[in-house]
Amino acid sequence: MRYVILRDEREIPVEVVPREGGYRVTVDGVPHEVDSEFLLPGLYSLLVDGKSWEVNVYSPEPDVYHVHLYDGARRVELLSPIGLVLRAQSTGAGGRGSSVRAPMPGRVVKVLVEVGQEVRKGQGVIVVEAMKMQNELQALADGVVRELRAREGEGVEGGADLVVLDPLAEGG
């Protein structure tokens, strides 16, 4: 099976070929003999060319893998050839919205902006409290507040849109 890793504007070819007791994985032209054991969901024991690795793998969203090695977590964006095509098509189609979302379940302490107000990238727009800590959430890009979806004192779901921004005129 062939894949592509997207990194620093590059497309790195990866091939996975199953073989007895594991795989032969070729990354960017370099082949590796891998003895792979599935331990728990997301937990693997890998013997790569004799070296032993215990790795946690999560996939928080399609085509994205967070791989935890001893020294930290890597984010790997890995697509199948088909996925690559689909990605290409969707690009440019509106791109990503810039609403500010709740990082986790919590409670809105303070809304710092009003509808119609212009905000700069990095400007604090709303304060959410969870686990005894207040977090000021910031605008991810310059924009104009189109809509406020949370009121002070209100509980919010993790990931919920709180403040929706429109791109600035010159940006639109």
């Binding site: 099976m1 894949y3 890793i5 990194r7 790195i12 990866v14 996975v16 199953p18 795989y23 994985v25 990354v27 370099v30 891998v34 792979s36 599935f38 728990l40 969901p41 997301g42 937990l43 693997y44 890998l46 790569v48 070296k51 690795w53 790795v55 946690n56 793998v57 999560y58 996939s59 928080p60 969203e61 893998y65 791989v67 090695l69 001893y70 020294d71 930290g72 977590a73 890597r74 984010r75 790997v76 890995l78 199948s80 990503r96 609403s99 979302r101 709740a102 990082p103 986790m104 379940p105 919590g106 302490v109 409290e129 969870a130 686990m131 005894k132 207040q134 991810l140 993790g158 990931g159």
Partner: protein, 492 residues
């Protein structure tokens, strides 16, 4: 004689206290909120009673419910742990009125030290060096601006009613004062029910070193050596050690004697900690006294061979201290790392959620105090500190090596933790060189604080295999917890 103790707390500290009680053959009584029915402190205690809904304000902070549980269980003493009601003089007083031994200092001592500005006045009178600053809470913004101008920037805003970094802000210049004052007050109000704050001269590149004291009811008061607590993230300690690489035997003795003087000045009894701000030149100033057990007490236990919780209980039951100052022997070096359920790659935002599996580190030199367990959950309602890893070695390099190994072995599958961030700290050359200060993290780990490591071929291989197996064998890699991934998308 104490026969049954109610622990007015939760999490790792409740578990740690239950262990000490079990070792002493004393019955333990846990209390729990609706969110904690399955929590380890409930399962390990001899008895357990519900005290209300999940929010602390309706459970662990409700003196009424806790005293009722004590009455029902027939407990004869209460251990408050840290946080919650541990520094609430009124609660301590009510325990006494209910005929319960409060395993902590007398209410008067809590009050004297609890109100930070008053404490500074008392210390100043007792000849304990204090940092220049306001000896009164600030009425309003203008007075804050006026005092800051008098003392000279940079200054530190602090909550008058509590500690632990809550309601604390560094103010570099006049412009920052308004926002800092507003946030500090509201956070103080949120955390301690009292929004008053005060000002202190900010000592630049300071160390935070604290001295453990132990006083019985018979007039004996000892110091047990210092703890280096300079490694902090936003005023929150995350790595502590004992002894401090900065402290000489002579400095230790001087700090110890000052700490004992501070304790005596408020008629202190039981275990307490005097926190000092230490300048790069070695002058030390009294910051505050924590009139309770500290989160980081284990590092002192590892080097002294004493069990501080057992000592607390013996003192509360009226026993005299069994050691004298000259008996104190420090062996080797100990470090503690605090494991938080938070995501270093995402602004250290808390990561509540279900825990799939836990693998504790073990082996020589490793101690774990935790409350996490497989198939458990980290609740949104409480502090995200879920475990403490303590490492002991014959010297500082050995202890650091053990800590490194222990952090590598520790696996908590299901939620994000700061484990890798801690690994970056304890393996950092400046840390190993003992070059510690409260600005260690911004100074040496950069403004982003957490550095994502370089790409690694094994990570690429693992991702490819996970993708392959999810496609071919249906062994999908589990998604990270929803809120976090959603947030990650928002960040991009």
């Amino acid at each position: 004689m104490i026969r049954k103790v109610l622990i007015a707390n939760r999490g790792e500290i409740a578990v740690r206290i239950i262990r000490a009680l079990r070792d002493m053959g004393i019955a333990s009584v846990a209390v729990f909120s609706e969110a904690d029915r399955k929590a380890r402190h409930v399962r390990l205690a001899d008895e357990a009673y519900p005290i209300g809904p999940a929010p602390s304000s309706q459970s662990y902070l409700r003196a009424e419910a806790i005293l009722e549980a004590a009455r029902r269980s027939g407990a004869d003493a209460v251990h408050p742990g840290y946080g919650f009601l541990s520094e609430n003089a009124d609660f301590a007083r009510r325990c006494g009125e209910a005929g319960l031994a409060f395993i902590g200092p007398p209410p008067a001592a809590i009050e004297a030290m609890g109100e930070k500005t008053r404490a500074r006045q008392i210390m100043a009178r007792a000849g304990v060096p204090v940092v220049p600053g306001t000896l009164e809470p600030l009425e309003d913004l203008p007075s804050a601006l006026r005092e800051a101008r008098r003392i000279g920037y940079p200054v530190m805003l602090k909550a008058a009613a509590g500690g632990g970094g809550k309601g604390m802000r560094l103010v570099q210049s006049e412009e920052e004062m308004e926002g800092a004052f507003r946030n500090a007050s509201s956070e103080a109000l949120q955390s301690f029910g009292d929004g008053s704050v005060y000002l202190e001269k900010a000592v630049l590149r300071p160390r935070h070193i604290e001295m453990q004291v132990l006083a019985d009811g018979k007039g004996n008061c000892l110091w047990l050596g210092e703890r280096e607590c300079s490694i902090q993230r936003r005023h929150q300690k995350i790595v502590e050690e004992a002894p401090s690489p900065f402290v000489t035997p002579d400095m230790r003795a001087r700090m110890g004697e000052i700490a004992v003087r501070a304790a005596r000045a408020v008629g202190y009894v039981n275990a307490g900690t005097v926190e000092f701000l230490v300048s790069p030149e070695g002058e030390f100033y009294f910051m505050e006294m924590n009139t309770r057990l500290q989160v980081e007490h284990p590092v002192t236990e590892m080097v002294t061979g004493l069990d501080l919780v057992k000592e607390q209980i013996r003192i509360a039951s009226g026993e005299p201290l069994r050691i004298r100052q000259e008996d104190l022997r420090l062996r080797g070096w100990a470090m503690e790392c605090r494991i938080y359920a938070e995501d270093p790659e995402n602004g250290f935002l808390p990561c509540p959620g279900p825990i799939v599996a836990v693998r504790l580190p073990e082996g020589p030199g490793v101690r774990v105090d935790s409350a996490v367990y497989g198939s458990g959950e980290v609740s949104i309602h409480y502090d995200p500190m879920i475990a403490k890893v303590i490492a002991w070695g014959e010297d500082r390099p050995a202890a650091a090596a053990v800590m490194n190994r222990a952090l590598q072995e520790f696996q908590i599958v299901g939620i994000r933790t700061n484990r890798h961030f801690l690994l970056q700290i304890v393996s950092h050359p400046e840390f190993l060189a003992g070059n510690l200060s409260t600005d260690f993290i911004p100074r040496f780990l950069g403004p982003g604080e957490y550095r994502r490591p370089e790409p690694h071929p094994v990570a690429d291989i693992a991702a490819a295999i996970a993708a392959y197996e999810s496609a071919v064998r249906g062994q999908a890699a589990p998604p990270a917890q929803r809120s976090v991934s959603a947030w990650r998308r928002a960040l991009r």
